[in-house]
Every structure is written in structure tokens, then in C-alpha cells.
């Protein structure tokens, strides 16, 4: 799996991410440092969630309602 190294704009943590996920453009990265979510620094925007996940039906990306306190 091709990867990207994305820095969290909030806490500066280093995040190793599937580049396919970043290619979608609307899907946010979950930060390993602060559990917050942020968009990749750049995106080709040329792939869909369904294509990246190899799914046969429309897919919605799920995020927790609130950042965990832990």
C-alpha cells in the first residue's frame, strides 16, 4: 500500500496514511497524536471512497461524534 506522511495541523504528530485515502479529498485523517480529524495537505481528488475501499455499494465515512477524552 502506497503511503503518505501527514503532519497534524493541531498537534504536529506524524501520521502514516494510505495515499488512496488521501486521493479522495473529502475524507479526513484521524490524528494519532490528538485523535482529532484533519484533511490531507494535498489531494488529487481523483478517487472515490468506493474505489479506494473496493466496495460494491455506496460508502459513507463514519467518524465518532466527539473526540474521546481519554
Amino acid at each position: 500500500m502506497r503511503m503518505r506522511d501527514e503532519e497534524c495541523p493541531d498537534c504536529g504528530a506524524r501520521n502514516i496514511v494510505d495515499s488512496g485515502m488521501c486521493d479522495i479529498g473529502t475524507v479526513r485523517i484521524r490524528c494519532v497524536g490528538c485523535a482529532g480529524y484533519f484533511l490531507p495537505s494535498t489531494s488529487s481528488g481523483n478517487r472515490t471512497v468506493e474505489n479506494v475501499t473496493n466496495a460494491g455499494v455506496p460508502i459513507t465515512v463514519w467518524e465518532p461524534a466527539a473526540r474521546p477524552s481519554t
Binding site: 494510505d18 488512496g20 475524507v27 485523517i29 465515512v61 465518532p64
Partner: protein, 460 residues
């Protein structure tokens, strides 16, 4: 009853080298894996952390067992056999795996001594673990139970699972059987009912990785490895539609959602790199059940425990290679790269057999992309010897084959697309009929005739 994690610890702990840490530890602060990393350097062994903080930071009543597979000796006790070498262990494993035993329904369900459901579910009460630097945070490495179609019984799959909120986890599922079962349900608009087993006898966990045909009940494989039928009871959420192991320590019941994915990862993987954050399946939790003094079985990911836990897959390669070419002797993996590269040794009787054996191990395993085949004078577990054969018996133009468009593994960092990679076979055997030059060595008879001990030798 010997089919529980606690009975393994009580009966085989000593032989496995089991140690106990009774100080209160915080697994989310890397405290558990920091200790395991030091033990790995000095004297690898299974470790039971008896006092553990939960994800919410409180001292909880769930304890953690790691490194059940840290050494060959420990793996031997898991399978209730003694083996002097990996070679012997793999052979005995295959004997065991063949003795399928159907599961039995029982009335007594220790795993349901405590039950929380619905709005009362709080995953924060569980002892999630942070394993390695840069990983996504709170993880377990459970076994996912699901039901196969057509009355084929149960599917078991080993899946990393990351905490998302009080009743959700992100679950990494490679495109194999569980993935296929979920896809079928999803295409019909249905969630897939599952039960995540957080701790059971370590032989149960191994059964999940066995390469089992879809029509075989993997509870029967668990029975084979346990040496007795697996006891099962209806799950609290799905009743008899999804049975769960009665003697498990902790079970998380829920559904892999249709039409939903979540960012999950990174996680330290068997290839010894971080597997990246990706879009993974979402588990919505309906119930958590556990027995008194529950023990969660964790895998020390990226380290020996993790690679050795692949013993069922490794043995499966040996069986597959032999089915194609009965002259196959052994199959080995290396810690560097783990299951991506295998070495096969054989008593070759015809040219072309090495390629046939290589294809047989590659075909069923998407982890494997490179295979080296050697003659049976080479110890496949000794990388130096393997490289000696590659260096002296290979001519690249005739002995190396490149196989384009092979399905590979998502976690292989050299892979570019979703699943496509390239295969490689190196035939490092002597051509049939070739004169094999004798190795350069002093005759045994001379060594016997002139024992070093009978000479006076002094330093200068």
C-alpha cells in the same frame, strides 16, 4: 476442562516460561510494550499483566496476557506438544489440524457471567493497548467470529481492532473470507453479525489463521487444535444465529456495518513496519460479555509473538507445497519480511518441480510474493545457507521467474495499488543430472583420526 486461557496458564504456564507482572501498568502509556520489548531482548516469554489500567485510566478488573507465542517452546505448549525444532513443530501441527472435531452446544457459559448491552456498553472500561510508536492508539488484536452461509458453520478471522468511541471500533479486514462474508451482506444492505473474542485458549486464536476451505467449520478446526470439541453457547445479541465460545474470557458482540468505513490505523504489522491508516470496517457494539477475572490475550505486534502466531499459516504453506510436490521437505520464513518470502527445500527428482512447489505456496496466500527453492542439503531456517545456494546454484536468465499481476498484501509497503504486486521465484536447486561439486571440507575420517584434544597447542 482444558479449553480456556486460564487453564493453559495454570497447566502449561511453567513449561511455557510464563511470568507475572503484578504492578499496576498503563497499557495506553506504552508501559506494557516497553516491558515486553526489554523481555524480548533478554529472555522472551509469555507475560501476564495482572493489574491493568483500562482505557479510562482507572485500575480495571481485566488483565492482559501477551507473548503466548513468543518462543517455539511456548507455541508447543499451546498445541500441547513438544517439538525440538520448528520443523518438527510444523509436522505435528499438521497432524493435529487434520483431526477436526465438531463444536458442542453447552448450557454453562462462563463467558456470560457478566453482560452489558446497548446504552450501557462502555468500551472505555476495557484495557486497550498502545503498542508501537506512531500507531493509531487504543487497539486489541481479537478473533472475529461470524457465520458462514449454507450451514458451513463459523468463520474465524484475526483482526486488529481500534477504539473509536464507546460503542464503535475500526476493524482491519484483509480481502479474504470475513471480507467476502461482509461484502455479501453489505451488497444486500445488511450488517454482518460478529463476535470479537478478546481472549481464549491460545490454540483457539491459532485456529483463526489456519487456511481453512470455506465449507469447513472453523470451530471444528479450533476443536482439532484444542484436542477437544469447542464448547459454544448462543450469543446474547443474536441468539443461536451466532454462537460464541463458552469458555472465552471476553466477547464483544456487534455488527460490521454495511455501507460504512472509518479511518483506522496505523498499526505495527508483521512486516515490521507500520501498516498505514486506511479506511476500514466499522464495528457497532451491541454487548460486551466476560467471565470473572477476565484475561485479554494480546499480540506483541511487530515482534516474535506476532510472527510466531502465524504458525498455522506457515504450516499451511508446507502442506500446500507437499500436495503439489511430495518431494518437498521443509518450508521456512524469515523474521525479516516474515511471510512475504518463503524458502522451500526439496529432494528434487525432476526439473520444474521447484516452480510447481513455489506456485502451490503462493496461490493460497496473498502474503507470499517471493519464493526461493533449494535442495535438501540446505537448512531452510539458516539464511546464510540459503544465500549460499542462491549465490552458487542460480543463473539469473534461466533460474529466476517474475510473475506479474499477482494479488499481494495491503500491508506490503512496496505495493502500489489496492492489491496488485509482482511475484518472484528463484530456483536455487541444482539442475537435474548436473554434477554437484563436493563441498570443500576436511574428511570426517581425518577429524576422527586426529582429535584436537590429543595435541599440545599453545598461544604465541
Amino acid at each position: 476442562m482444558k479449553q480456556s486461557l486460564r487453564s493453559w496458564m495454570a497447566d502449561s504456564g511453567k513449561e511455557a516460561g510464563l511470568r507475572r507482572v503484578n504492578d499496576l501498568v498503563n497499557p495506553m502509556g506504552y508501559e506494557v510494550t516497553a516491558l515486553l520489548a526489554q523481555i524480548e531482548e533478554s529472555d522472551p516469554a509469555p507475560v501476564h499483566f495482572t493489574a491493568v489500567r483500562s482505557l479510562d485510566g482507572r485500575p480495571g478488573n481485566f488483565s492482559l496476557l501477551f507473548n503466548a507465542y513468543a518462543t517455539r517452546q511456548a507455541v508447543g505448549t499451546v498445541l500441547d506438544l513438544t517439538a525440538g525444532s520448528w520443523r518438527e513443530l510444523l509436522e505435528r501441527y499438521l497432524d493435529r489440524e487434520r483431526e477436526l472435531r465438531d463444536p458442542v452446544v453447552v448450557a454453562d457459559a462462563p463467558v456470560q457471567q457478566h453482560v452489558v448491552t446497548g446504552a450501557d456498553v462502555r468500551l472505555e472500561a476495557l484495557p486497550f493497548v498502545r503498542h508501537v510508536e506512531h500507531d493509531g492508539g487504543p487497539y486489541f488484536t481479537p478473533i472475529t467470529v461470524s457465520r458462514k452461509p449454507n450451514g458451513w458453520g463459523h468463520n474465524l478471522s484475526w483482526n486488529r481492532a481500534m477504539y473509536l468511541d464507546r460503542d464503535h471500533m475500526g476493524v482491519h479486514v484483509s480481502p479474504r473470507q470475513l471480507w467476502g462474508l461482509h461484502r455479501e451482506a453489505e451488497n444486500d444492505g445488511r450488517d454482518l453479525p460478529v463476535a470479537m473474542v478478546l481472549g481464549h485458549h491460545p490454540a483457539f486464536h491459532l485456529a483463526s489463521a489456519a487456511r481453512t476451505p470455506l465449507e469447513v467449520d472453523e470451530f471444528a478446526v479450533a476443536g482439532a487444535l484444542l484436542g477437544e470439541p469447542l464448547e459454544m453457547v448462543p450469543s446474547r445479541t443474536f441468539g443461536a444465529d451466532l454462537m460464541v465460545p463458552a469458555q472465552a474470557e471476553v466477547v464483544v458482540e456487534g455488527r460490521l456495518l454495511a455501507g460504512r468505513r472509518a479511518a483506522e490505523g496505523p498499526f505495527g504489522e508483521f512486516m515490521r513496519y507500520l501498516g498505514p491508516q486506511k479506511l476500514s470496517h466499522v464495528l457497532e457494539v451491541d454487548a460486551v460479555t466476560w467471565r470473572d477475572d477476565p484475561v485479554v490475550l494480546g499480540i506483541f505486534t511487530g515482534y516474535a509473538d506476532h510472527l510466531n502466531a502465524h504458525v498455522s499459516i506457515h504450516a499451511g504453506h508446507l502442506a500446500a507445497a507437499r500436495t503439489a510436490v511430495p518431494q518437498v521437505e521443509q518450508v521456512a520464513w524469515f523474521r525479516g519480511g516474515g511471510p512475504t518470502t518463503a524458502v522451500i527445500s526439496m529432494r528434487k527428482t525432476a526439473d520444474g518441480q521447484p516452480m510447481r512447489a513455489a506456485m502451490a505456496v503462493m496461490a493460497p496466500a496473498n502474503t507470499l510474493k517471493q519464493v526461493i527453492v533449494v535442495d535438501d542439503d540446505i537448512d531452510v531456517f539458516d539464511a546464510q545457507e540459503v544465500m549460499w545456494a542462491v549465490s552458487t546454484r542460480v543463473r539469473a536468465d534461466v533460474d529466476i521467474a517474475v510473475l506479474p499481476n499477482l494479488q499481494g498484501h495491503l500491508l506490503d509497503p512496496s505495493q502500489q495499488g489496492y492489491a496488485g504486486t509482482t511475484g518472484l521465484v528463484i530456483d536455487a536447486t541444482w539442475p537435474q543430472g548436473a554434477v554437484r561439486p563436493p563441498t570443500a571440507r576436511v574428511p570426517d575420517a581425518a577429524i576422527a583420526e586426529f582429535p584436537l584434544g590429543s595435541y599440545r597447542m599453545e598461544g604465541v
